[in-house]
Symmetry: C2
DNA sequence: AAGCGATATGTTATGTTATTACGCTTGCGA
DNA sequence: TCGCAAGCGTAATAACATAACATATCGCTT
């Protein structure tokens, strides 16, 4: 059930390898995790991974999870989201759920407007236990 | 202007030093920034700082900003918040604004309830430019 | 086809953030 | 006074990220 993501045709080799690694992983990967999985494909240095990740994140094909220092492929395979995205991260199994909420976006926008704060980027990450892991416990 | 924070009486020496450093800083500090400022007070190793930070964060006297790998003193000096806290971080001057929003909390709670996800911790960080910095530009 | 700029690459070294492991000390109640 | 819990000190190491520099590749213009 894992993947079957759209893989854009104009990625470079390294970007394609990195996105492939993320797509096949059931949980977020750190840059070094990715590097380890791609040594067989010729990658040797962290920078090769970080550079690819930068591009992928920029294009919305992958996301950085700040509270984990790790990365996931975008779960919204065909129309990578533009607005605020929230992530729910299970501490048990590592599964990441990605969702958007217009009301939250509007509340943040309201706060920013009142304060005169210009928002450039928002990160929102919920840590906890997913339903499956709670069940299993 | 800067501080005038309540400093709980039951802190250990290291915790007091670390919280003092955070209180006197106009912007978030990394653990190593803190260490550098406290070498004169006898601190030598990162762990001394990390241990103090753990306790301070646990008690809500300080917060960790995940998107910065840095820490701030809680701005809500007398009644350290319990619920979800959002941080607005200015990329220009480093100022951090801390606020709570019940509607956002309720939306997240709703999502979690629908998904059967048990929330343990939420981080919410807005990066951008504060009013003062926009003015100055 | 030659020239050029923008983008991507490879490699080494280094910088920054965080933790593990171990042992000692102190305070405090059983 | 024994035992435990919390705190402390130190050294070593792990994990995450970037700087600096040299080449290479591609698309575009001439
Ligand atoms: Zn996405
Ligand atoms: Zn789970
Ligand atoms: Zn606070
Ligand atoms: Zn500012």
């Amino acid at each position: 059930m894992a993947h079957e993501h759209a893989m854009p045709a104009d990625l470079t080799r390294n970007q394609e390898l990195v996105l492939g690694a993320l797509n096949h992983a059931p949980a977020p990967l750190s840059a070094y995790d990715i590097l380890d999985r791609l040594r067989g494909d010729g990658l040797r240095a962290p920078l090769q991974v970080y550079r690819a990740l930068d591009k992928l994140v920029e294009r919305g094909l992958a996301h950085r999870l700040e509270s984990l220092n790790a990365f996931v492929a975008c779960a919204d395979a065909h129309c990578h989201r533009k607005g605020l995205i929230a992530f729910a991260i299970c501490e048990g199994c590592g599964k990441v759920d990605e969702f958007a909420d217009a009301v939250i976006e509007e509340r943040l926008g309201g706060w920013a407007a009142r304060e005169g704060f210009k928002v450039e980027r928002t990160t929102m990450e919920i840590r906890g236990k997913c339903a499956a892991c709670l069940q299993a416990a």
